[in-house]
Amino acid sequence: MSTTRPEAGTSRWAAAADHFRRWLDGDSAALDDLVRTLTPVLWQVVRAYGLDRHQSEDVVQTTWLTLVRKSDTIEDPQAVSSWLTTTARREAWRVSRRSGKLLPVEDDELAREADISPGADSDVVAADERDRLWGTVGQLSPRCQRLLRIIAFDDRPDYAGIARDLEMPIGSIGPTRGRCLAKLKDLLATNSGKDQ
């Protein structure tokens, strides 16, 4: 079972829904599968809020505890992924508010500058492109970075909740997402122009 390949996103949500149904039917091992399938996703969603690693682990844990306590309030098992990411976002937003962290934290900045060694030789080109993408995403505004990261890891993005967290009108989320991606495209074009 792939838990880390994002292009397998659709099957990840489907697998999660399947695990959740089995758990509701009394198969306790299915909860393990659900946790292993979606914890990597929840981590990404929470980290988008600029929380440090300890706080992020804490929020992810609280999200799962909330699920087992409130599983009976989830009307549509198919929507368990978006229920979890919404819960994680709400909690991450509260914690980031409380600790005054509305911008990316220091360790994000450090990680961005750190050398990432490429894997096998055949991966060098891909790693190079990935480096360039990573560096370029870092040039986007914190709000763009956060919005794109949240949406990239959401099964059914909840625009109303995201709008509240980012203090933006609901109607502007779609256009802003488009503008952020366009900005990224421009920056990539500019950066690759510089290299030639």
Binding site: T4, R5, P6, E7, G9, L31, D32, V35, R36, T39, P40, W43, Q44, R47, R53, H54, Q55, E57, D58, V60, Q61, T62, W64, L65, V68, R69, R94, V95, R98, S99, D108, A111, R112, I116, E129, R130, R132, L133, W134, V137, L148, R149, I151, A152, F153, L181, L184, K185, D186, L188, A189, S192
Partner: protein, 155 residues
Amino acid sequence: MKANVKLSELAEMWEERDPMPTDLPDRVLVALALEDLDAEHEMLHLVERSKELVGTRSVAEAVTITFAAGEFTVMLHVSPTAPERCRVDGWVAPAQPMTVKVVQPGSTRTVRVDATGRFSLSELGVGLTRFVLLTEAVDGEGRAKSFATPLVELS
């Protein structure tokens, strides 16, 4: 290089560059196993975690962890004492009579909070631990409140 970027490529990039700690799912599962689903705990949230060196020659570090829920705060000072052992000095605010349950896989210890809001546990095993704090029954209402921390790693 092509300039169009798909969200799935961004997702892949973030998972590669800022992956979750590999043991996070295991820790979540321990937390779920230790959760008493019949209890109605108010969840405490991590506010701060800071490290300090114990003595100049020691490599062991003491950690201060602060949790809060609304007006209620608990601060835990964890210092290593022997291999695989630590001491926890706790302080709750506002100070009130409480019982602290220290839940670890396979064992639970209980300690009372004193009138100044302090409690301490010595010779505690290291590892994944959860603290559950219970207030005494409130007059009239007759209902005690309980607060629970998320799972924390004592070391």
